[in-house]
Every structure is written in structure tokens, then in C-alpha cells.
Point group: C2
Chain length 416, copies 2
């Protein structure tokens, strides 16, 4: 069982069980060294929004693939309009029409013009488009009332993208407009990083599955739905089959199921019934166990076969915090994303002092009240509602004993 | 056909076609007055992440629903430990065990104790938990080696949530931890705003559907995939059946199909073959047509039956901009979200001047280079790659002729 309040106690007695507590920085170093980007897959363009491009994309075509008119008007040779005005009308033949998708097949010669619409291909021979407002047209006769310089009102082939240009670089999280550009160069499928599969292993004999009605002496699992939503946010695919009995064989079997990352919630500490750390140590590698932070100090991490395993404390605030500090970072790295938090950051001043203990990093939930940051006082590791009442959190590093009132602090906002 | 370059011209001749151009502010006012929040639906908790809560949620239960131990140790009466120390051992009977999910059924009396684990219910009669490290236990005999104050190491019933508390307010975009809290109070289904259905009507005879191979004198549709991804970003469900022929009957039929919002891409201006505005005026209401902005000046909006209809210029940059200024705002309002852009904003200084024309708002794509904002020079309405090379955009209001080098401007970042 995890030392629920230990991490809230000034004299952290339960932490005696940890031989030493790793720093957050050292845990990040381990993650960054072991969370290798996974392989890619080809998916249809229309499903690629928000996914991570696995390769550079170079266009093999010009976009647009032809010179096109940017106006409704007449395609002609510019030099034939020289000197034209209302007082010096010049006459040309209208020899055809170019419509979007239905180009004029011939060539525009001297003395000729072709009626053209916006987006239609400029016919061979023509080098300018005279807008419809600057002519008098009657039957096949065009009276030119104005000059037009060469190239005017023509969108040139390749003006958006020239063949051979790298349009997007590997690692790009695809924006809506990126899908537009990819479509425009003829993309059907896109090579993107596969979404890491994240298996959620919820342990705890006191737990009822999420969606249960409350029962006396039982707790309804909050971590499963929370972790599944966090995994989705970070680009993973959550596999959340339900509660696993607090028995070594059942936990080990669940940890061994197919996944890229395993999140074990509960039983992560050093108590008699905290099976996950010793299982991981015995059957894989328990690289880190116990972190100098509050909450989440009983967090751990390691490897089992090819999988990265994160041991998350069962108390829901600790679980959220340990996910965000460690598992989420690993998940984002596996999926080719930035390792930084997806939370927006704002610098705001503290409305009262924020006290912390030297030697451990603090994850302090805060509210923003009248433009200032106010630490939330009820902040035990088991009080999940503290994270729903909070607007975000402030990190106090291990070497700090906190900040006085008025200090400008970085607030990580839960909502984007 | 839309006046593609007109919006990039100093003397916007094509705009003559618009009787007057509405300001962006007036268009927003129309949207805010007509985009009414749609009805709600009940969905399973596990699918509710990122959805918008339609009603306040009040807990009918205490969480936790019982007093529980926060340590592994012994549940007892605190006053029976008074004076206990290594030199003054006090003896109690161990009369049973309370495990998580398996409580002790009896009552702890004077002279008695119950072995208890973290998370287990504190048995009736006991009012404190003495940690296991502060006792010697042997068989059914407990030697108490330390005092423990009343209430110590007990997490009280309702310490996270007290029955009757409003845990989340209507309008909340559900965070991962909100799902945890909702699960913990016994929520099975959640009442959320229905996701608006957004029909995408792509017109243009020059267009090939996204996913096509390039062909001479054709353009591959970029707007369909881009709009579908924008709609998904703003919480809508996109319906994107493909290219609609540039014929009034076909466009009207497509606009009349089932949806909450219709986006018509292309044919939004005042040319002969711009059918959508007159169709909307004839069969519904064309509330706004022509906006004083660059690009996207040929944008329009109105109503057809119960639907909001947005007329988006076919040029992809104009389409993106008109979506972001108008359609996206309406979609977010319908779905119960904030109307503000979902782009993060940063204040950064301009590395060179940004020129604009008084009388129209400018949507200027910019790059951030060495910590300063640099306007992108190739920025025609048809150059979609300008929005993939850009890091974001700067808005120059209609009453401004731009900003000199060094001005601090708000940059809306495409990537969060």
C-alpha cells in the first residue's frame, strides 16, 4: 500500500523505506535516454490531423500545376494593349473561353484573346489577363479600354509550391493547413509516428471500477478514466481493461500484456503489499524507485521486455502528478512529440507565500484569483478535487524553500 | 468565381461588387447573436474528455465514503497511547484486521486495536492510526511505543468531496482529472453539449478531390481536409462528402443537407458564377456579404432554415482565415465553448515594419526568427504554404496602417 499522507508530513517517516530518493532531473534523464521514438505507419491523409509526421515531405509537383487567371477577364498578349484607353480603343478577336477545369485548347495569337475566368488555365500564347471591367465585349469582338502589363493577373505555375521543395519536415505535428498543403501536392497517405499503446493497470482491492455506484468501504477508481484521458491528450492509445486484483501473479500478467508503455496505478511504494516494484525488479529492471518530490514520491519506473513501465501512486493527485512528470513525457517522446508539458505557462505574482521543503520538488496546485496566484490550501495527495478547483500548478524546485508573496511565478495552466 | 488577387491589390477593384463591406466587429456581433448553444446529450464518462459539461454536477455522496487509514499500522483509541514510549510500552490486544475493501466488522474497544492497512476503513470505535513503525507486534499482542494524537493518520469521510457539493460547473471543458472526480462520485453518464455537425460543401469545377493524383489544369482540393481538421479542433463533427459541381441546384441541395453549420468553400464572391450568396439570399438569409479584411474579404454568412451558413472564399488562405474569424467562432459557441481563438498568444517585437491599409483588418502570417516576429513576404490568398511556413499570425486592425519595426505585437501561434 502506498504511504498516502507520508508525502504530506513534515517528517516523512514512510520514506525511510526508500534507500534514496532520485531527483526529478535524474528521472527525466533516464526517461530521455530510454524513451525511443517508435516506428511509423501510413495512414490516410484525412485522419492525419494532429499526428506527427515521420518523414520529410517533398513535393514532386508544382502547385498550381499551370498558370491560372486570378481575375475574370480576357487572356491576351500584353503588348497588344499598349496605349489602349477609353479614347483609344483597341480591337481583338475573342477566339474561345477558358473555364476552371475546362481550359482553352488552342494558342492565343496576335489580334486574339480568350475569355477567361478566375482559376482557369491561361492559354498558351497569352501573357496577361485584362479584367472584364476594362473592356467592352460584344459577340466575338473585344474592345480593349486599358493597358495591362505583362504577367498581370496571372498566378504562375508553382507560385505556391515548386516541385522539389520540402513542404513539411519530419516531426511536424500536422496542422489543419498542413493537411491542405499535403492534399494539394497529391498526397493520399501520410507516414506518421504510430500512436504508442499505453496499458493502464489499476490495482487496489478497495476499488470499484469507474462507472460503479458508490458502495460502503469501497472507493470508485478515479485513476483509470483520468489516465486514459491524459494518454489521449499526449497522442497515445489507452488500453484500460479495468481493475486488476492486488496479487503478484495478476499484476505481473497485466504488466506483460501487449503495450509500448505500462502504467501501474497503486501499490507503487515500499509496503508489504506494494507488489509492482519488486515484480519489476525481478522480471525486468526497476531503474528508479522513489523520487524527491511531493506528491508522487513513491513513483517508480523501469523496463519490462521492450516496454517502459511507470509505477504511479494510487492516490489520485500523486497519480496525476507522476503521470505528468514522468509517464506523459515518455509517451510524448515515443510518439515523436515535444517532451515539454502541454500546459500553457503564464507568469503571475503570488497573492500569498508558497512554502516548500528543501530537498524535494513541490507540485503546488493554485487558483488565479483577481489576477494573482493563490496556492490551494487543502492539497493532500488524495484530494483529487484540489486539481479540479485549481486553475493550474506551480513547481517549487527541490533547492527552494518556497516563494514570498508577490513573487512572479510560472503557472502551468490545466486548460489551454 | 472569387476575386482571388483582388484582396491583395492596393486598389481593390473587384470589391466594387460589394455594396458595402461589413467590419469584422459587426460580423462577430451577428455571430454572437445567432450562434445559440445547441442541446445536450448523455455520453459514457470514458468518452467525455474534452467535451463541454452541459449542467452543473453536484455530488450526492461523500468521497471517500468512509474514514480510512492513511498509513499501514494499528487503529486504536488515541487516549490509550498517552505517555507511551520505548521506555513506557503500553499493551493492547490485536482483535482483527482491516484491509482495503475488506473492513473489520466489529468495534474497537478499550484495550484493543486492529491491524490496518493504507486505504482500509477505520473500524468503529477507533479514532487514530498508530504507524507500524511505532509498535512491536507479536501474535495478538501489540506493544505501543509512541503516542498518537486523536484523528492522526485518518483520512476523513468526505475529505475530498462532501455530499451536496457542486464539483463541476456547466460549461466546463472536461479535463482528465475531472473525469476522475466524476468517476469517484459514481458518475456513469455525463450530460455534455452535443458536438455540432458541420457540413463542408466544396465547390469548384477546377477541383479534384483530396487524395487524387495531380492532373494538368486541375487543382487538388486543399480546403476539404483543412476544414475537416479545423472543425475537429473546435469540437465539431465534420461531414465532408466531396466536391459539389458548380451548379446552383447542386450547391443548394448540398447546403440543405442535415447539419448545424454549413461551410461553403468557393464561389462566395460577386462574380457571375458565385452562386452561393444569391442562393442563400433567395432561400434563406444572407446577413453579411463582404468583410473589410484581407484576405477573406469575399466571405459571407447567413442562415438557411435552422442552419448557420458560412461562405468561405475558395482561395485556401482566405478559406482558413474566414473559417478562423467567423465559422470557428460560431462552431465553438454552438458547442458551448469559449468564442476566443484556440491559438496561444505571445507578445513579441517586430523585426521589420508590418504595413497594412487603413479601412480593412489584416491577417498577416509571420515567422518567429531569433525571438523576433518577421512578416512573411509571399502572402497571397492562394499561397497556402505561407501558412505552413508561418509560426502564426498577427492581426492589424482596420484603423491601423501597420506597425513600425520593434513594436510589440500579439502573435497568435498556430501550434499550441
Amino acid at each position: 500500500m502506498e504511504p498516502a499522507t507520508a508525502v504530506d508530513e513534515p517528517h516523512d517517516v514512510r520514506m525511510r523505506g526508500f534507500a534514496r530518493r532520485t531527483t526529478v532531473a535524474a528521472a527525466w534523464e533516464w526517461i530521455d535516454g530510454h524513451a525511443r521514438r517508435i516506428e511509423s505507419e501510413r495512414i490516410p491523409l484525412e485522419r492525419a490531423g494532429g499526428r506527427v509526421l515521420a518523414t520529410d515531405v517533398t513535393s514532386s509537383v508544382d502547385v498550381p500545376g499551370f498558370d491560372r487567371s486570378m481575375m475574370d477577364g480576357y487572356a491576351l498578349l500584353a503588348d497588344q494593349t499598349q496605349g489602349a484607353s477609353h479614347y483609344n480603343r483597341m480591337e481583338l478577336q475573342i477566339v474561345g473561353e477558358s473555364l476552371p477545369g475546362r481550359p482553352f485548347g488552342g494558342t492565343v495569337g496576335r489580334g486574339q484573346s480568350v475569355r477567361i475566368m478566375t482559376g482557369a488555365p491561361v492559354p498558351a500564347g497569352a501573357d496577361a489577363v485584362l479584367p472584364a471591367e476594362r473592356v467592352d465585349a460584344s459577340g466575338s469582338l473585344l474592345c480593349v479600354l486599358d493597358e495591362v502589363p505583362r504577367g498581370k493577373n496571372i498566378g504562375l505555375r508553382g507560385e505556391d509550391i515548386v516541385a522539389g521543395t520540402r513542404v513539411l519536415a519530419a516531426g511536424r505535428v500536422l496542422r489543419p493547413q498542413d493537411l491542405g498543403v499535403l492534399a494539394s501536392i497529391g498526397t493520399v497517405n501520410v507516414e506518421v509516428s504510430r500512436q504508442p499503446r499505453v496499458r493502464i493497470v489499476i490495482t487496489g482491492n478497495e476499488l470499484l471500477p469507474a462507472g460503479s455506484a458508490p458502495q460502503p468501504s469501497k472507493i470508485i477508481d478515479a485513476n483509470g478514466p483520468m489516465l486514459a484521458a491524459l494518454v489521449a491528450r499526449d497522442g497515445g492509445v489507452a488500453i484500460n481493461p479495468g481493475i486488476v486484483p492486488d496479487e503478484p501473479a495478476a499484476i505481473l500478467a497485466a504488466m506483460r500484456e501487449d503495450a509500448d508503455i505500462v502504467l501501474v496505478s497503486g501499490g507503487s511504494s515500499v509496503g508489504q503489499e506494494d507488489y509492482a516494484p519488486s515484480l519489476l525488479a525481478k522480471h525486468g529492471e526497476l531503474a528508479i524507485h522513489g523520487v524527491a518530490m511531493r506528491p508522487s514520491s513513491p513513483a517508480g519506473m523501469g523496463r519490462l521486455g521492450d516496454k517502459l513501465v511507470f509505477l504511479l501512486p494510487g492516490n489520485p493527485v500523486s497519480c496525476l502528478c507522476a503521470y505528468d512528470f514522468f509517464a506523459g513525457r515518455a509517451l510524448r517522446l515515443l510518439g515523436g512529440r515535444k517532451k515539454a508539458w502541454p500546459y500553457p505557462v503564464r507568469q503571475i505574482s503570488l497573492s500569498r507565500k508558497l512554502v516548500s521543503t528543501v530537498g524535494r520538488l513541490d507540485y503546488a496546485r493554485v487558483k488565479i484569483v483577481e489576477g494573482r496566484v493563490e496556492p490551494i490550501s487543502i492539497s493532500g495527495a488524495s484530494i483529487l478535487s484540489s486539481t479540479t478547483r485549481a486553475d493550474g500548478f506551480v513547481i517549487v524546485p527541490a533547492d527552494s524553500e518556497g516563494y514570498p508573496e508577490g513573487t512572479m511565478v510560472d503557472v502551468f495552466l490545466y486548460d489551454s
